[in-house]
Symmetry: C2
Subunit: 120 residues, 2 copies
């Protein structure tokens, strides 16, 4: 399996800092959630998620996730071109982290419950 | 154990989104790393970490982490007042997430290795 290049580490060689260099923001792991837990694969599905991701941020994160090899896209329509997005193996390995975050919220934030898709 | 208030969820009631509302940025979990994995507790120790956290961001994140009940501070000097920071129970529960992130990088990014303090 091809690894992300060492230039991925922006701030230090620390494994934690490098992970945050890749997905340390409010939106990237929501796309991983949408694909990996909720089975959403299309631009419109991501935009329909209730957090209301701005379209420019969505486009930026999809591009960045592809460049890093965490997602890949597959055309499902040609004219105009439209794509579905899937997690690569490196992207799939983020799903347990997303689950752990969900469990943390459900345990520590009032009113937050774990949906079945996360809890399995 | 007191939970974070439901107002913590900024964008939706999704457990994943709520977690990212709390710590979805490049710096917050580095402070959790410093305290929980590296035994750093003082302002100067955080600033000495090799990622070079800007002092205004450090002050902002320490304040926010305290307000959310993820860290608590204990004075170690009175004049001028100086504090040491420790993880609360909710903060300690972020450490496994930090470890999982570290393991992800070590597995998927070239040249990133897992330090002993993370790997235990």
């Amino acid at each position: 399996m091809k690894k992300l290049p060492s230039s991925t580490a922006k701030r230090s060689s620390c494994s934690v800092a490098t992970a945050l260099d890749v997905f340390g923001d409010k939106w990237t792991l929501l796309i991983v959630r949408d694909i990996g837990l909720f089975g959403r694969h299309r631009n419109k599905e991501f935009q329909a998620s209730k957090e209301g991701i701005p379209s420019n941020i969505l486009a930026n994160r999809l591009k960045s996730l592809q460049e890093k090899g965490l997602i890949r896209r597959v055309p499902y329509q040609n004219n105009p071109p439209r794509y579905e997005y899937f997690l690569t193996e490196a992207g799939e390995d983020l799903v347990p982290i997303v689950r752990a975050m969900a469990q943390w919220s459900a345990e520590h934030v009032a009113g937050i419950r774990l949906p079945k898709k996360v809890a399995r």
